[in-house]
Amino acid sequence: MDSSTEADHGAASADDAAVAGAPEKASAAEPGPRGRRGPGAERSVPAWRRSLRPYLLVVPALLLTGGILYPFGLGLYYTVFDFAASKPQPDLVGLENYRRIFTDSSFWDSAWVTVLYAVGAAVVETVLGVAVALLLHRSTLVGRVLEKVLILPLMIAPVIAAIIWKLMLQPSVGVVNHLLRPFGLGGVQWTDTPTGALLSSIAVDVWVYTPFVAILALAGLRSLPASPFEAAAVDGASWWFTFRKLTMPMLWPYVLVAVIFRFMDSLKVFDIIYALTEGGPGDSTVVLQIRAYLEAIRFQRYSFGLSYMIVLWAVVYLAAMVLVRYLGRIQNRAAEVPK
């Protein structure tokens, strides 16, 4: 027998003996070793206090749950009224606000723009993020330097990033058109057309959040086991084959976590678009969050604005549920041991 194991067993037995022999000596007033109260002290605690403990342990969770649910419930409650600054004593209108939303073409326009934005941003950020992670994973000195630079956009508030890009995309004095001028593309009106405004907004989102995807993907890459890749190398597999058959399937659960975060965040986008285009030109970049803000804050139709927010919440919740279930399936599949 290994001597150290024997020693451990000996120590354990001594502890057990101490516990067994302790009841008479220990008391509630005398803390046990390392300040803990011994089992004797436990027995001297009145029964009503012992039975109260589980409930006390539940209190923080209850407070937290209440802190989340109370404002949400109140918001939901307001949506069945016609509460607005112009009507501080509102009438109960039931689901009228929701009916108005779903029968209003501008809601569907906003929903469409929101989906385009979220899908566009999430897809581009995923592709670029994985590509950047692969590059950094292979590089050495350059990789380490780029890693430091990569995190910079994440340190800038999105609204500030949007303002920086607004200046850079300014047609006459912006640096982007200045750089494009030698190629005959110096007059692009980046945010003056509906398509340009949406693409510019997505581009700013991509600039800010691609590093987030890249960092998660890079962490995933670094945690993958080396042996399958060594085996592939020994078998002479091409880079593309290895990427498709080994890297991506093993990396996908990590990337999917980033995709879920980015997709949900993009569905709720406000700051980038509002700072860059204010929802224009026309209504071309009025996503659901901006419409809710305009209704609730700018136009002070609180109930109607809140109804928009509840609808947006439902959309995000459903999307998250589907994606998280998919993530669970992917993770289970990745954890399966081949038979």
Binding site: S51, P54, Y55, L62, G66, Y70, G73, L74, Y77, Y78, F81, F83, A85, S86, P88, Q89, P90, S106, K166, L169, Q170, P171, S172, V173, G187, Q189, W190, T191, D192, T193, P194, A197, T277, E278, G279, G280, P281, G282, D283, L294, I297, R298, F299, Q300, Y302
Partner: protein
């Protein structure tokens, strides 16, 4: 004893009790009504002020002000020491840039708190903040001789400005009747300012009609870059998707054509921005911007318009006279010394109807220090401060006759070519040209959005008809 069963039962009872306890505030909050309920009384706090008027009645008190970042504010802040010396009242203040200012103010007022006793607002905001009871009616304060010093002299204000901040809170009802919900503090007339250098070089003259203005804007954009004004375009006008795009040059020219935003039939309003004449005018305006306006027009606020004139990027500016003034004063910009003022194009019948913006000061109806706040309002809108602001600072376009007629003020403004003449030409026809109604911000933001769509190539008729259809049930 079945401990498990007892605990299970207790746990259920505990959870039921907890749920009941936590629902109490929820239900009470719901029952308490919405957003800081009114609690307005019929009487005014002004009635509590009795005895002889005394500037030092509230010495030792502190009042809080919410201010917008503006040259007028700079003059006020610089002179706050004078107020404290005179009254013994301290003023604490927060200053926000205009982009966020009104959102901050709106959220604060709608919360029902009295975080700020006094704040800056525009006359249009009275239409939004007045009906929910957020603004103190200053009429009773003005009428109470115990609360108001004789030297304040209400009759010295330009009548149209006091009328512009007075309203009965009924949609479509004309201004000038009802409660005085703010006091005029500074105002702006929307006129044309132009770069004399480029006009001289290209042999141009200010436009006297809208047709001429459109032609002129296009000509400058085509010819100015070749004449040594690199990147210069014709006319700077606002274009962002905001209510602020509609009210300066656009609404001024719209009104000079005799057009209306809404028609009033009894107590109901009907959108009129889609009349055939309005559709034609809007199409022409968008065309002017395309041919002679700024690149990236859809993001243009007054800041960009103003700085483009100063940076010699714009040949003309059709906006608030102050937006040009801040660039025209000596040393303020590359174009300073070469900026002149003109009333702008006349309407077909010679109209110089001009829309105005009134920077005003208001009092929070929930303030607990109304009497001290009223002393501050009296001082800030009084002859002494406004005269000093106009002469020593950049608080121009005086709201008081005594200041605009003051020789020192006139001498100062004479340095700017055409300023006084323009001011005098439009003064009588300058008033708020919008129809007062609570949905003003929704209507004008949607109008700006429609204007952007027309600029983007959509047909003006269907876009404006769609706008009118959308607005009709909201305002009707």
């Amino acid at each position: 004893m079945d401990m498990h069963g007892k605990l299970g039962h207790d746990r259920r009872r505990f959870l039921a009790l907890t749920a009941a306890a936590s629902s109490v505030p929820l239900l009470s909050a719901c029952g308490a009504g919405f957003g800081g309920g009114d609690g307005k009384s019929d009487g005014s706090a002004a009635d509590d002020v009795t005895g002889s008027f005394d500037w030092r009645r509230h010495q030792g008190t502190t009042v809080k002000a919410l201010l917008n970042k503006h040259p007028y504010t700079d003059a006020l802040i610089a002179e706050l020491g004078t107020f404290t010396e005179k009254t013994g009242i301290k003023v604490e203040y927060d200053v926000f840039p205009e982009d966020n200012y009104f959102d901050k103010l709106t959220v604060d007022l709608s919360s029902g708190r009295a975080s700020y006793d006094i704040f800056m607002l525009g006359a249009y905001m009275v239409w939004q903040y007045g009906p929910p009871g957020w603004l103190e009616d200053l009429g009773p304060w003005m009428r109470n001789e115990s609360a108001t010093g004789a030297e304040w002299d209400q009759n010295d204000f330009l009548p149209s400005l006091l009328e512009g901040t007075r309203w009965s809170l009924k949609a479509g009802a004309p201004l000038g009747r009802g409660g005085q919900y703010a006091l005029p503090w500074g105002w702006e007339a929307n006129v044309v300012a132009y770069n004399t250098e480029v006009f001289d070089k290209l042999g141009l003259r200010p436009a006297e009609s809208f047709d001429e203005l459109r032609e002129l804007a296009g000509t400058i954009k085509r010819k100015a870059p070749g004449a040594g004004f690199d990147g210069m375009y014709g006319v700077a006008v606002r274009g962002s998707r905001s209510w602020a795009t509609i009210h300066p040059g656009f609404m001024t020219m719209f009104s000079r054509y005799g057009l209306k935003d809404f028609t009033v039939d009894g107590e109901s309003l009907k959108p009129a921005m889609n009349s055939p004449e309005a559709i034609g005018f809007t199409r022409d305006w968008a065309e002017m911007v395309k041919k002679g306006g700024p690149p990236s027009w859809t993001s243009y606020t007054w800041y960009q318009c103003s700085s483009d004139l100063g940076a010699k990027k714009a040949g003309m500016l059709f906006d608030a006279d102050t937006a040009a003034y801040f660039q025209a004063v000596k040393g303020a910009s590359p174009a300073a010394g070469n900026i002149a003022f003109h009333p702008g194009p006349k309407g077909p019948d010679g109209s110089l109807a001009t829309n105005m913006w009134i920077w005003s000061l208001g009092m929070n109806a929930k303030s607990g220090k109304k009497s001290a706040a009223w002393l501050f309002l009296q001082w800030a809108t009084g002859k002494e401060h406004l005269r000093k602001g106009a002469i020593e600072y950049n608080h121009i376009d005086p709201v008081r006759r005594s200041v605009s007629d003051d020789a020192a003020y006139r001498n100062k403004m004479k340095e700017l070519p055409g300023f006084i003449e323009t001011f005098e030409a439009v003064q009588d026809q300058t008033r708020i040209q919008f129809t007062p109604q609570e949905q003003f911000f929704d209507a004008t933001t949607s109008w700006a959005s429609a204007l952007q769509e027309i600029y983007g190539g959509k047909s003006a008729g269907p876009v404006l008809n769609g706008l009118a259809d959308d607005l009709a049930p909201k305002v009707g």
